[in-house]
């Protein structure tokens, strides 16, 4: 009796563990072996880039794992969890997604995509420091005026040549 209760409790506990406890599948694996993964539940992890592209109650979020970027179809509420999207000078939120992978989604015109059922932000994004390069600043200060002077001389010389 006790063992039955213990087993039942363990089973109930297992149901509460997030579905994506397993290692995430990489984008290269998903793309290269898309036929094998088609229609299956997958875990995918990466940086949200660009912006959320709203589609009514849903949105597209493109997520990059460093090798490729995959379009993920999420609810507007899930998209709202993402605070930062990656771009120049910004590292986007790292997200972990669970959902159904489609090699050629019949709902979305044949796109390779992931219909997400669960989204979790693993790490918040942040601004990336882009300090101004001193070498570039010095080079600009020297080469810029030199270029302007030479262009002026070339134009002046050309006008004198044409007048003659």
């Amino acid at each position: 009796m006790r063992s039955k209760i213990l087993v039942t409790l363990l089973l109930l506990a297992a149901l509460t563990i997030p579905a994506c406890a397993a290692e995430a599948t990489g984008s290269t694996e998903l793309i290269n072996r898309a036929a094998q993964w088609d229609g299956k539940a997958v875990c995918y992890e990466g940086e949200a880039i660009g912006e959320a592209l709203p589609r009514g109650d849903w949105a597209w979020v493109n997520v990059s794992d460093g090798e490729n970027t995959i379009g993920c179809y999420v609810t507007r509420d899930m998209a709202a969890q993402i605070q930062r999207y990656g771009r120049y000078g910004v590292r986007g939120d790292t997200v972990r997604l669970t959902g159904t992978f489609h090699r050629a989604c019949p709902e979305h015109g044949g796109d390779l995509d992931l219909h997400v059922t669960e989204l979790r932000v693993l790490q918040a994004g942040h601004a990336v420091a882009m300090p101004v390069s001193r070498a570039l600043a010095w080079a600009s200060g020297i080469l810029g005026p030199l270029a302007v002077a030479l262009i002026a001389v070339a134009i002046f010389r050309k006008r004198c040549y044409n007048e003659d």
């Binding site: 592209l53 949105a59 493109n62 390779l112 101004v132 080469l143 270029a147 001389v153 070339a154």
Partner: protein, 508 residues
Amino acid sequence: MVREKSGGKLYTVCSALGLVALTLGVLQCIPAVTSLFCREWNIVLVFVVSAAVSAILGAALMLIGSSRRRQPMGYGVGLAVAAAAWFLGTLLCAVPYRLSGDYLSYLDCCFDVMSGLTTTGLTLVQKLDHVSNGINMWRHILTFLGGQGMIVLALVFLSKDAGGAYTMYVGEGKDEKLLPNAVSTAKRIWEISILYLVIGSAVLSAAAAASGLRGGRAVLHGIWIYMSAWSTGGFGPMSQNILYYHSTFLELTTVVFFVLGSFNFALHHAVLTGNRRELRRNLETVTFTTTLVIFISLATIGLMRGHVYPNVAAMFRKGFYQVISGHTTTGFMSIYAKQFYYEWGDIALFAITLAMLFGGSACSTAGGFKGIRTGIIFATFRAEVRRMLLPDSRVSEQKIHHIRDVVLTDRAVRSAFVIVTAYIITFALGTLAGMLAGFPMAMAAFESASATGNVGLSIGISTPAMPAFLKVTYILIMWVARLEFMSVLALGAYCVRKVRRTCDRKYW
């Protein structure tokens, strides 16, 4: 034998190259201003330095070239200058890429510049999704510039110094004279392009906004996608290319503009000046329509046999889009590179590889064999068959219609066969290089066709990890194919002649 003095021509060559370098320097103000507005301070400095380098070199060459001993360029020298200008332009335009840190090596930078200028679209950039707006603006300006022609732009600024203008114009792979002289023709080409730029950017910005982008990003992406579409370049501002937007409407809009971009500028000029019948009658539009139907049919058969797409809508959106993107030599991708290899199957791959080689129209932004040559070759075959079957008295001159009715001469036929043969040899050498690098033949042939036709669709070979010799091979292929061989051969012959003369002088 009297040896002509070549010193006078050297001044003209320096002047022409200087003008091109200076033009490239001035153009870099556009991405510099873009970065200024977007507060990308480091990138502003990158373009100031790079523009200054181009401008200094350009001004120096123009000063050397402003001599009273200048002589007009001959036809061969003009062709060689066109090729040399593209080579010099590649080296100069790669400087901002190198300074930005977005590329692994200067060779990768040169690859991307040549890919942009030749409107190919293959790219080796690192982390495209994190590239600055300034660098993205430069990438797309290069493809827009290359589509119209770098020499064509420089010619716009020539007025009295038009010596050699026509030969340089021809050396850039264009030979249509829209107006009486090359300078006027160059200006007209740019007028047509700027007109479409304004309209196209507005339409595509709206399409980008409809797909979910907001504010300034929608405008920037609209302008970039337009530049890439019209110039049949295929660059996209994001790593997923057109797939990033998940928008059928935006994809269809790009189809309109890249098909327009693949049409002959002479056809645009004819239609814009009231001759709309030319659209139906022109040999190139007839040829393009015929080959497009054939290749789409073949691709559809292949995709249906492989059950690649679940329904007609998906088949149209992916299959049709990729084939027309390849045939117009645009290179926009709505699927991942490896999907071509792993999913499309041999028949569909064969169809799209051929479509890339056949290409768009002559004197357009497109690459490949060109519709005029395909049309001439087909007309020649038909004429030969008629000659065999009909009595001599019933055989008349073969005519084709390209802006006007033209008798098909032996010279035109020979020229078509020679250039198409050159393309096929180039494609074969590129395929061989790919196989030597370890790739299967289907992949090597696809990527070689993409480089030879200046298309930009990739099957996954063109990555930063590609062997250096293959990068160099593709750079050379993109260069010679874009300039249609003659100017590069002229440059090679010119260099060999110079070396021989120098050696002769040393010994004698």
